[in-house]
């Protein structure tokens, strides 16, 4: 392996490393939010607040940072963090491919990212 190939391989492994880090952070954060929501709901049933079936992000944030603990909002936030984790990993791959100057795959990742953003926009307006 010559020097140029070695540099390119190191950059590739950096992309893999960062994508893996994003996935781990997402799974751990959402897992902890869901567990804490379930545990708090079990110990303090008064924290179970009736929520709309599909709360908006604004509603969720308002519930999370209000003075009353809301166990349902914690679970919903865990679910949303989990749903955004793969999308962030596509973004990270996009950035990684740009750093590697692999424009072909940067565009491929960008197409996937745009489709996912399109899905979210569609979901907001249904």
């Amino acid at each position: 392996m010559n020097e140029v190939e070695l540099k390119s391989r190191n950059k590739q492994q950096n992309t893999e490393k960062w994508v893996a880090i994003i996935l781990k952070i997402g799974v751990w954060t959402s897992g902890l939010l869901m567990i804490s929501g379930l545990v708090i709901a079990a110990i303090l049933p008064s924290t179970i607040t009736q929520f709309s079936e599909n709360p908006s992000l604004g509603n969720l944030f308002a519930s999370l940072f209000s003075n009353n603990i809301n166990s349902v909002a914690l679970m919903f936030t865990g679910l949303i963090v989990l749903m955004f984790t793969p999308i962030l990993r596509v973004l990270m791959a996009c950035i990684g491919f740009s750093i590697e100057r692999d424009w072909r795959f940067m565009i491929v990742s960008l197409i996937v990212l745009l489709m996912l953003i399109g899905e979210i926009i569609y979901s907001i307006f249904i």
């Binding site: 989990l82 793969p86 996912l116």
Partner: protein, 270 residues
Amino acid sequence: MDQITFLLILAGGFVAGAFGALLGLGGGILLIPFLTLVVGVPMHQAIATSIIAVIATSSAGAAINLERHIVNIRLGMLLEVATVLGAILGGITANNLSSGALTKLFSILLFVVALIMLFKIRFKNNQNKVYDEGSLPGTYFDSSSGKFIHYTVKKIPATFFVSLVAGNVSGLLGVGGGIFKVPAMHILSAIPMKAATATSNFMIGVTAAASAFIYFAHGHMNPFIASTAALGVLAGSVVGIKISKKIHSNLLTWIFIIVLLGVSIQLYFR
């Protein structure tokens, strides 16, 4: 949700995750019939729950496989164009179908999965392939043989098409779709089994995320059921992966095929 339902879903998720990992499937194939037939969860909600569990297990598994450099990240991203498109269309379709229609479609899926598993037993260990003359080269260290395996990817358009179908099934019925993609990558694109499985698993999280928001917007995400099942499946799949290194039995697959066929018939005539 009362405590018994909570424990039931947690245990069911754990078993679905463990057996899914043992048999090389995602947890969804088992989780959805369990939630609908045993717990009585409506079909759309069961699918949404499975999608969450699929994102969790795929993301956790992909993080480990990426560190071991088994994932072909470029091939994964390319095929995701197909799976994501398929999944968005599948998600939109599912939310316009009745619960009864989805249940019938799911029972047909179980039947097809049983057939694929039967086919897999018969054509197992197709190892004498030549892994060259394609594009998107990959290299990984195979710990069982102690060698570096080099390969390239052939017939990408064919695998791309299968990925589109797999993505569509994922969005429509809440499973990962690996059961279609892995054989396609291995047989059509001549990718070694280990890399095909890792790359498919890597893609599944993004594919599931492509329909998750649609189910969420339609109000099918029950926070209690989804959180409990996701945690159960995640824990079960970790245990399943650990045990799978020790168990190599066709008997388990045969039992599973019979169970799948039984559940398929029960769902169809429900």
